[in-house]
Symmetry: C2
Subunit: 306 residues, 2 copies
């Protein structure tokens, strides 16, 4: 199946306790595309960059069979830029700079041959942009996956709940789930979010893993314990890219298959955090992915003698 | 095998967002004993109470085949009392009162017929009390399990590291593991703690589950997602009681069996938090436990098609 992903392609400048980078490749769609390319999924990105965006990044994506036809280049403008600094515990970060640039007036244009995509991943963007993507689709995708963040919960409630009502799978973090639902208990939060539309609710908990809810079913996956989380930037997007591409490859949207997709997504995220930016994700092979999934299996499997 | 557990038997007064209790049965050894009784383990408690301690609590324990011969009663003194208030997120609590009473000069006396226990669980107490228990044993137990807390890390470092060096399995929370090791990464923290003595390191993460480390092996178990965590008091002790009693029952101290023990412990903790104090734990049957363990299995099991 065809996977269409809409999100940012950006420059990031990152500082963590382990070092810092100059402007490197960033943005949700970059991580999504790279994660999806590991399994050689039919992944198609829609985004926008400025004339300053290096051709080498685009070439690298093309070489990985990522369809970048939908990445618009606006020559006389600048690429979206984000800069942040992580603290020792890596769970909180300060945004040092956000320059929207081309993103300010971003009107996604879905290429004709992508309007029939069966799996649509709406990366974290203004809900009106997400809605505009949905309106451009030739037919309703079989699965719509949505990412969002607290900023949109706070500032664009009506538009956000509109796009959520059209979503099959929502992927948000624990804090956002609590904010969106007004419930502290994540079980109750998932119930409330179900009622808003999505059949499946994924709650990401960073170093504590993730939960997948479907009515009264729940699946939990711990994060892989790592010696060092080098740079958490893009972990959530890599997760989404791995998750969505596994669904597109397997063409199976059952709860059981979503569980495996959650593992694939978590494996992708575990690679991303091992180096700065997209550096590690770019190197991941299908063999590395399979090994990592085996690590998840031995991490969580047990037998009962009782 | 015989399980000997040393810890507090106390009065607790608890306030949570869901209500409050008067003085109810509390203390680590109470939770440990009740959890161990679910599988009808040969569990023996060593503790101390005052003359004010209700006979009905002791009778209830006896009825559950908990050997309370080692609970000393000091008639003219008062039982240890703790009172605390939990906040909305239940992860942090304020201690409202701590009256040490009989605990102030507690000198545990191990009954003769318990000195050959194969599994020794040293509940969270002053390290010198934990050392004194070890010295009274007729022979080195096959497995020594240690619980401790940040207070002892801060105030009794030399004694604490001495008892840790004699320990096979240490069970602490993430914050304590970081404090004990000086490492933020839990993988690195476990490595450092291994070097201090324990072959196995359990790191409890509350609502995020627990990790079990053994050299380069690691096992992770999420906590069961619950609609409400009613009262987290005693969750860690119930965990320890379930864990230790499963080892005593199965007489198998391999990494694989410890994984299952971790599940049993987590199941016990998940019961405890459902009601105030020991109320739910007192009602748990072996059938309920088996059902709950099945819930953990379906919570974490997945198949890979990749």
């Amino acid at each position: 199946m065809k996977l269409l992903a809409v999100g940012t392609v950006a420059f990031d400048a990152i500082e963590t306790p382990f070092g810092k980078t100059d402007k490197v490749l960033g943005g949700a769609a970059s991580y999504i595309g790279l994660a999806a390319s590991v399994m050689n999924a039919d992944v198609n990105l829609v985004s926008v960059v400025g004339g300053d965006f290096p051709k080498e990044y685009l070439d690298m994506m093309k070489k990985k069979n990522i369809n970048i036809e939908g990445i618009e280049i606006i020559d006389n403008e600048k690429t979206f830029f984000w800069s942040g600094k992580y603290h020792n515990d890596l769970n909180c970060r300060d945004t040092l700079a956000t320059e929207l640039n081309v993103l300010e007036h971003f009107e996604p244009k879905i290429p004709k041959n992508c309007r029939n995509a069966e799996v649509l991943l709406l990366g974290n963007l203004h809900p009106s942009v997400q809605l505009s993507v949905l309106e451009q689709m030739a037919k309703k995708p079989e699965v719509i996956i949505l990412d969002t963040m607290n900023f949109w919960i706070n500032h664009t409630w009506d538009l956000l709940t509109k796009i959520i009502s059209k979503t099959d799978i929502i992927s948000i973090n624990d804090e956002e789930a609590r904010q969106l639902s007004g419930e502290y208990s994540l079980v109750k939060a998932a119930q409330k979010i179900h009622e808003m539309g999505p059949q499946f609710v994924i709650i990401k908990k960073g170093e504590h893993g993730a939960l997948l809810f479907n009515d009264n079913q729940v699946f939990a996956i711990p994060a892989l314990p790592l010696e060092e989380v080098f740079d958490p930037t893009g972990a959530g997007d890599s997760f989404a890219g791995g998750f969505a591409s596994y669904l597109a490859k397997t063409e199976d949207f059952s709860f059981d298959n979503l569980k495996t997709a959650l593992i694939v997504g978590s494996a992708m995220a575990s690679f991303t955090v091992e180096k700065f930016g997209t550096r590690q994700l770019e190197n991941v092979t299908e063999t590395m992915l399979k090994d990592r999934i085996q690590q998840f299996r031995s991490l969580t499997s047990f037998s009962i003698k009782l």
